[in-house]
């Protein structure tokens, strides 16, 4: 059984990890939109900032932001609740792993593509 100090340390770690995931997730939203555009433009983009490809880019940007923001809010609030309920269990740590992997994967993809 962990003593109080260890418990507090772990609580602090969870809060820090959750906060970090919230910040990184926020950064990942525009990066994900850019990633979608970086895939869209080589297929349909044009040299000019008008016409169907430009409108397509605008549509993607506006269309993606709302669901991504919704996902973000759901993920962060839901994540907080999940970590509270499953504090210091493998399920909680696994959830952190998945969260950071998805956020890191999106940032990496956006940086490379």
């Amino acid at each position: 059984m962990p003593n109080n100090r260890q418990k507090m340390q772990r609580q602090l770690t969870v809060i820090l990890l959750w906060l970090t995931s919230a910040v990184v997730g926020l950064i990942a939203i525009p990066q994900t939109v850019d990633l979608a555009l970086n895939i869209y433009l080589p297929f349909w983009g044009d040299y000019v900032n008008y016409g169907s490809s430009y409108r397509g880019s605008l549509f993607i940007r506006q269309f993606l932001v709302v669901p991504l923001a919704t996902l973000y809010v759901a993920g962060i609030i839901g994540g907080a609740e999940y970590h509270t309920r499953n504090f210091n269990t493998p399920r909680s740590w696994r959830f952190f792993t998945i969260t950071f992997a998805i956020e890191g994967g999106l940032l990496l993809l956006a940086a490379i593509l």
């Binding site: 696994r94 998945i98 992997a101």
Partner: protein, 688 residues
């Protein structure tokens, strides 16, 4: 530290697996969009598509595609063994000529190859994630994505050879497995001859390592014996045409610079995969699939080295892409095995390896987006121009010579008259006498000749001999330019419209230069483009006048004239672009040094030479403008810097300056839509 890493290890691996999965999902997305775009495009995407569809049409009609006699038309070469064409023939016979069946075969073959690569890794390692990784990593290579949507032989051959590797891996102890392996290897070789090295070598070594030398030699005897028998039989049936077409006609000149270029590209774009290959070769006893994967890698590297042949393309690298994907899968599985039952550092190391593979896949995807995806996009965006070319071809019955777009003939159920690249290479090697074709060109036998000019690369010079180009130049004239393709028609059809002795009939002025590659009307002036190297095509004064060259004009002179259409008024002609844009060397005559003012010149006096056109980079070019003088007769200085071929919009305050249409002065064809960039043929106005 050790205990922390031991505890964190599984989480790190799981996270890395998710990241790999995300990269692979993006790879599937990009591959799928590209494949759908390629499948849906009705016109040719590559030079090599039309000959294969043409061969399928001829096979459907019961004709021999491997001609032994190349002295009479059609001057066509079937570069490859017949399996792919045979696979396409029933569809062509049923649905008529189209690129769709051939491209669909290629797409499905690519997916089948990815599947077999995964199955090979799974068979050897029982690691599903490594199997998925190996298969999908194959779809990230630009060579694979680019070639997967083309009606070309390569992907079917690769699917057969990877299927053979799977069968020999899975059923190596079974006699039927041996026969099936031999059959699949034979199918691969009879789809594309270069598949006769890597996969057969890998199968042979693997069988030797697992079942002993007798079984390995049996496989070699089966493949070698049946292959040789088929070769001799087909060569006999075609009276020597088979070997002439698939071997003799394929021995092109080798350029080590091309090989070096691709080697550098691989080293910079796939360094981790190459390092993985090197590592795998060094650990023969640690990786269970080593006796299969290592010889396959070595064989595919040797095979890829033939990319240095003139006319070769990235299809020579798809087999190497498959080998590198197998190597990666084998190494990841090896690393994963260590991570689950090894020391404290092995799980974090495996996670790092997965992240590195993800980044490598990302780098390859970036290259795929830059090259095949973007190239396909521009092809598709030029569909309107291609439709116009297609229409033009349909309006001209009879034999048409074409290169990149010879597929328009095929789509119209018309046979190819010539495959210019193949015949040019044979002519260069002294194995084909082109004199009959040259005589036909001189006689104006072809209603159209279409020569494609890739921007920034003189590919057409590998597709047409200098003699053919000279004959076309001599007896044909350029009438259309669409989709980077110049369309020539017999000179006799438009002889009364061609400028003679540097002047159009009844024109007040002579012409400033030659422009046999047509003119671009850039709304404020004319771009003249000529055959010949920059710095060799002379530029002359259109009329007598007084020349000015400001001290900072490297490529421009301007001449003041009395306006022949409005006597008493003064106008200026501007000759811009007379320099090599690469090294800024000026091509202006030394008689007119910088700082020249009011130097008298005569009509027809040499001013300099055409420069390099930036848009094509390899064409000679002159930009010619006529502008009214200021009230005092002087030159409007601001204009020189504004007048260029990118057609920068004129600032509103200078619009009143007025740009004069050169057509009334030169009597050349004029733009029907002023202010719109348009290509015009090098022809005079007809007398009303």
């Amino acid at each position: 530290m050790k205990s922390s890493l031991t505890a964190l290890g599984p989480y790190l691996v799981q996270g890395a697996q998710i990241i790999v999965g995300m990269f692979l999902a993006v790879a599937i997305l990009i591959f799928s969009i590209h494949a759908v775009m390629g499948l849906g495009y009705p016109y040719p995407l590559d030079y090599g598509e039309a000959p294969l569809v043409d061969q399928a049409m001829r096979l459907a009609g019961g004709e021999n595609i491997y001609q032994a006699d190349l002295s009479t038309p059609p001057y066509t070469i079937a570069n490859y063994p017949p399996l792919y064409v045979l696979a396409m023939t029933p569809f062509i016979k049923l649905c008529g000529p189209s690129f769709l069946p051939g491209r669909a075969i290629a797409v499905f073959s690519t997916l089948a190859t990815a599947l077999f690569l995964g199955l090979i890794i799974h068979t050897h390692t029982k690691n599903r994630q490594a199997a998925w990784l190996s298969g999908i990593l194959f779809l990230t290579f630009r060579y694979v994505v680019g070639w997967s949507a083309l009606a070309r032989v390569d992907m079917l051959g690769l699917a057969c050879s990877s299927a053979a590797l799977y069968v020999v891996s899975r059923y190596h102890a079974d006699r039927r497995g041996l026969w099936l392996t031999a059959l699949l290897l034979l199918a691969a070789i009879y789809t594309r001859q270069t598949y006769g090295l890597a996969a057969p070598l890998a199968s042979f070594v693997w069988l030797w390592a697992t079942e002993g030398w007798k079984k390995a030699l049996t496989l070699a005897a089966l493949v070698g014996g049946a292959g040789l028998f088929l070769l001799l039989a087909l060569n006999g049936l075609t009276q020597g045409g088979f070997i002439l077409n698939i071997i003799t006609a394929n021995v092109n000149t080798f350029e080590s610079a091309t090989l070096w270029r691709y080697a550098q590209e691989l080293a910079t774009r796939a360094p981790l995969l190459l390092a993985g290959g090197l590592l795998l070769l060094c650990v023969p006893r640690r990786v269970s699939a080593w006796p299969l994967v290592a010889p396959y890698l070595i064989g595919s590297l040797i095979s890829a080295a033939t990319v240095g042949k003139i006319g070769s393309n990235v299809n020579y690298l798809v087999e190497l892409s498959a080998a590198l994907s197998l190597v990666t899968g084998a190494l990841v599985a090896w690393s994963a095995a260590g991570a689950t039952r090894g020391r404290w550092w092995q799980a974090p190391l495996h996670a790092v390896l997965l992240i590195l593979v993800s980044m490598q896949a990302g780098g390859l995807l970036q290259q795929t987006l830059e090259h095949p995806v973007t190239e396909l996009k521009w092809r598709v965006k030029a569909e309107k121009n291609q439709r116009e070319l297609y229409q033009l071809v349909s309006e001209h019955p009879g034999p048409v010579l074409a290169d990149e777009y010879m597929g328009f003939l095929t789509l119209q159920d018309r046979p190819l008259y010539i495959q210019p690249f193949e015949m040019t290479q044979l002519a260069n090697a002294g194995r084909w006498d082109q004199s009959a074709l040259l005589a036909d060109i001189h006689a104006g036998k072809f209603p159209l000749i279409m020569i494609h000019h890739f921007p920034h690369a003189e590919v057409y010079k590998t597709r047409w001999t200098p003699e053919m180009l000279e004959a076309i130049q001599h007896d044909y004239t350029l009438t259309h330019s669409r989709a980077d393709t110049l369309v020539y028609q017999p000179r006799s059809a438009v002889i009364n419209r061609l400028p003679a002795e540097g002047r159009c009939p009844s024109a007040p002025w002579r012409l400033p230069t030659r422009s046999d590659r047509g003119m671009w009307w850039f709304s404020r002036g004319l771009g003249f483009m000529a055959t010949g190297e920059p710095g060799t095509v002379p530029v002359y004064a259109v009329a007598e006048g007084w020349l000015t060259r400001r001290s900072y004009w490297n490529d421009t002179v301007a001449i003041q004239h009395i306006d022949p259409l409005h006597p008493g008024e003064k106008i200026w002609t501007v000759y811009q672009g007379m320099s090599d844009r690469q090294d800024e060397e000026s091509f202006i005559s030394s008689s007119f040094p910088p700082g020249s003012v009011d130097v008298p010149v005569e009509a027809g006096e040499l001013l300099g030479y055409q420069g390099r056109w930036q848009a094509q980079n390899i064409w000679a070019y002159l930009f010619f403008v006529i502008t009214p003088a200021r009230e005092d007769g002087s030159f409007p200085a601001a204009l020189v810097d504004l007048a260029n071929e990118t057609d920068t919009p004129l600032p509103r305050e200078l619009e009143d300056q007025g740009w004069l249409d050169p057509a009334p002065y030169l009597k050349l064809l004029h733009s029907q839509v002023m202010g719109q960039n348009v290509w015009l043929p090098w022809q005079c106005q007809t007398e009303e």
